[in-house]
């Protein structure tokens, strides 16, 4: 079975796997809804912190007849993982620990850095569940797919790890559990300009694993940080100069010497910042990309691209600079950039005018002159005052093979062959029904939304997001496409996602939704595809959905 296109006789069926995140106010489902399940008789009421705290949910949200609330219990009432001391039963979902776990109930969670600030001003406060800091701003699988990292607007990074598949649970493919949580960036204040620097994580990129630890780059608008995530399951005991609590011993009292030994301890996952790459960008960083030499990476802002060496934090090379001498002449900015997956001298960057430039770093130190220039001629019949805005490229991605690049502009996804610069080889309409609504979308600023796009592992399927929590997949070989929705109504374990359809005009069929009913505040900007399997992660505002293909 080829990932992404199924067998020759059937399409891939996507089904729900997990959802992590906060619940929105106003959800009034009567059935137990994720992540809250309403216990009929919770087996561990004394351990469930919310049993004592009756302020967690307004009573209006509880289905009638229920007055007990057990967020750690699965829908059937049996305890889920990460519940209290005795909890070890099966649950098919897990909440994001950082939001709900009070410090005393965290034995099975492997995080060290529980963010008490988050606990204090989030969920547990009256009625404010989905805070803006929870909005997921980036999603990325690592190179093996074992880890999945998310960054949010509050500057936090949450890493999920796929659990090992056990032989007696064949039907449950490895699910993702929280592995580590840490605060990557803090809000800063630029005193010179009297402006805040947001802590929102714009991008996360993993480094390929070279030893037992995991490394990732995370960036906000101004600063890139290299984080090391490592496990510790042993600790040294038996020091001579300090006792078990770490207090220094008086040397005069030491009569014998012993050799410290390593003893096993509870697994601890710690994240430490190993490098901080700061003060190199005047404008907002929109992309980072790790080079295939694994020694360098680049960071791109609106007008410049810098090349860094991982070991050197106080210098970077500027390799692209499109800032005009006179800022009054500025008409174009850089919107995304990426290194070629195999050729460490090649990279591309996209612009707000819908062009892509491919540069070779061997040509000159400053790559202002491109090697290749990709631009599609404008379609005169579709020209309007919004043409330029909707042609602005929001994301550019190399295929895994390195032969193609994919670009996302407001209404389409395009695939380009590196050997053909004058037009893309494939164009897919994501939501063409919005073409007649551009004026309204300009007015409410939705036209400036930056959607990302991803390839699947075999480069045969591409995926991107849309509004109303819809996301689209396009099969490049069969030319078929599907629209799916990430919503809690469809969030039953292994429930198969039903294709959605937007009706443009005329008679609306039963399951269709009309363009005017679309919710433009529910946009899917960030998605990720497992590097080798049919597992996708979809970020819908403050919820992370994981979907897998159906296992027979």
């Amino acid at each position: 079975m080829i990932p992404g296109i199924g067998t020759l006789t059937q399409d891939t069926l996507w089904c729900f796997s997990q959802v992590k995140g906060t619940i929105e106010i106003g959800t009034t489902e009567d059935v137990p809804c994720f992540p809250f399940a309403f216990c009929h008789d919770c087996k561990f009421p004394e351990a469930c912190p919310d049993m004592q705290n009756s302020n967690v949910l307004p009573s209006g949200l509880l289905p009638s007849g229920q007055n007990k609330l057990g967020p750690w219990c699965s829908p059937t009432g049996s305890p889920a993982p990460l519940s209290c001391e005795t909890g070890c039963g099966e649950g098919s979902w897990i909440l994001v620990c950082r939001l709900l776990v009070p410090t005393q109930v965290s034995l099975l969670s492997m995080e060290e850095d529980i963010d008490t600030r988050k606990i204090n001003n989030s969920f547990l406060r009256d009625h404010s569940y989905a805070t803006e800091a929870d909005i997921i701003s980036t999603v990325e699988f690592n190179h093996t797919g074992e880890l999945l990292a998310t960054g949010d607007k509050g500057g936090r990074v949450v890493i999920f790890q796929r659990e090992q598949e056990s032989k007696n649970q064949i039907h449950r493919r490895g699910e993702y559990n929280v592995y580590s949580t840490f605060q990557s960036h803090e809000p800063e204040f630029d005193y010179l300009k009297s402006l805040e620097i947001e802590e929102k994580i714009n991008k996360i990129r993993w480094l390929p694993q070279q030893n037992a630890a995991y490394f990732l780059l995370s960036t906000n608008d101004k600063t890139v940080k290299l984080w090391k995530v490592s496990e510790r399951d042993k600790r040294p005991e038996g020091y001579n100069l300090k006792d078990e609590e770490g207090r220094l011993r008086d040397p005069a009292t030491i009569t014998t010497l012993r050799v410290p030994v390593l003893r096993p301890m509870d697994l601890m996952v710690e994240a430490t910042p190993r490098r901080v790459f700061a003060n190199a960008h005047t404008y907002h960083i929109n992309s980072i990309s790790v080079n295939s030499d694994y020694e360098t990476y680049m960071s791109a802002d609106d007008l410049r691209i810098n090349l860094w060496n991982f070991e050197i934090t106080n210098q970077s090379f500027n390799i692209v600079d499109i800032k005009p001498a006179n800022m009054e002449e500025l008409t174009e900015v850089i919107t995304a950039a990426e290194f070629h997956p195999h050729h460490c001298n090649t990279f591309v960057y996209s612009s707000s005018k819908g062009t892509i430039r491919l540069c070779d770093m061997r040509a000159s130190a400053l790559c202002d002159r491109h090697t290749k220039f990709f631009e599609e001629p404008e379609d005169p019949s579709n020209r309007s005052f919004f043409s330029e805005i909707i042609s602005s490229i929001s994301d550019v991605k190399f295929s895994h093979s390195g032969r193609y690049i994919m670009t996302r502009d407001y209404l389409t996804v395009k695939v380009w062959d590196l050997n053909m610069e004058n037009r893309p080889i494939e164009t897919y309409q994501v939501h063409d029904y919005l073409r007649s609504k551009l004026c309204s979308l300009y007015e409410n600023d939705c036209i400036f939304d930056k959607f990302e796009c991803v390839w699947n592992g075999s480069d045969s399927v591409i995926m991107t997001g849309s509004y109303n929590n819809f996301f689209r997949m396009f099969d490049r070989n069969t030319k078929r496409d599907v629209t799916l929705e990430a919503s809690r109504e469809n969030s039953k374990p292994r429930a198969i996602l039903k294709p959605r359809k937007v009706c443009v005009g005329g008679k609306r069929r039963k399951d269709e939704i009309s363009v005017d009913s679309l919710d433009f505040s529910k946009k899917i900007l960030h998605t990720a595809w497992h590097p080798s399997e049919n597992i996708i992660a979809v970020a819908a505002t403050n919820n992370l959905y994981i979907f897998q293909d159906k296992v027979n």
Binding site: K193, E196, H284, E328, S352, E388, K437, C439, S440
Partner: protein, 241 residues
């Protein structure tokens, strides 16, 4: 938004002139739409959330849109003044090709007031700067219905809109309003300085802000004043030509 100085149509004459006006109406409604788009873009450029640095990409795209409209209006002859090199340059087909301006969306919106989302967006940041300006929230569909006059009105309308935006601001520099109309040499309302003003931030920072601002700007000292003084500073950037 455009409640000042509007000409009312003489109701009785409509039936007689309908035929003649029909052609004129489609052209003027396009001009009105274009005008409204221009005004909306100008408002967007001004109303940046000033606590966090404005999004440069967004500002550039909006400014390019305004420039595009500006160019077209110049070729139309509806711009305030036309420099010799512009006159007669634009081929007619270019005008025709830009006629698509989401008519259906406008017609839909004309039936109801401006969307709440748009209003909320406008009012939020504005309230930080100047509460009075919230009255200027775009009601373009309705105002558009009233303004069915010759292109000359459009040109005047443009300056009226600028006027509208600025007139209610408490300006510490009374000469600023005269500056708006005093300049006759420079052809365009200089959007480049608007963009520069946005790029540099309303508070002048280091190099970027200073190089973009023309010499006549008050300089870094204005950043020490209140928000209103900052807005005044923005005004001065905008009228700088």
């Amino acid at each position: 938004m455009f409640t000042r100085g509007l000409k009312r149509k003489c109701v009785g004459h409509e039936e007689d002139m309908e035929g003649a006006l029909a052609g004129l109406k489609t052209v003027s409604s396009y001009s009105l739409q274009r005008q409204s788009l221009l005004d909306m873009s100008l408002v967007k450029l001004q109303l940046c959330h000033m606590l966090v640095e404005p999004n440069l990409c967004r500002s550039v795209l909006i400014a390019n849109t305004v420039r595009q409209i500006q160019e077209e209006m110049t070729q139309d002859g509806t711009w305030r003044s036309v420099t010799p090199q512009e006159a007669g340059r634009a081929p007619l087909d270019r005008l025709v090709s830009t006629e698509i301006l989401c008519r259906s969306a406008w017609e839909q919106e004309g039936a109801r007031p401006a969307p709440g989302l748009g209003d909320g967006h406008v009012q939020g940041p504005v309230s930080d700067l100047c509460p009075v300006t919230s009255a200027q929230a775009p009601r373009h569909p309705q105002s558009g219905i009233w303004e069915l006059d010759s292109p000359r009105e459009d040109r005047g309308g443009f300056h009226k809109s600028l006027d509208q935006i600025f007139e209610t601001l408490e300006t510490k520099n009374p000469g600023c309003m005269e500056e708006l109309f005093s300049d006759v040499d420079s052809p365009y309302y200089d959007l480049d300085t608007v963009l520069t003003g946005m790029v540099g931030g309303a508070r002048p920072g280091p190099c970027e802000g200073l190089e973009g601002l023309a010499p006549a700007t008050p300089g870094p000292s204005s950043s020490c004043k209140s928000d209103l003084g900052e807005l005044d500073h923005v005004v001065e950037i905008l009228v700088e030509t």
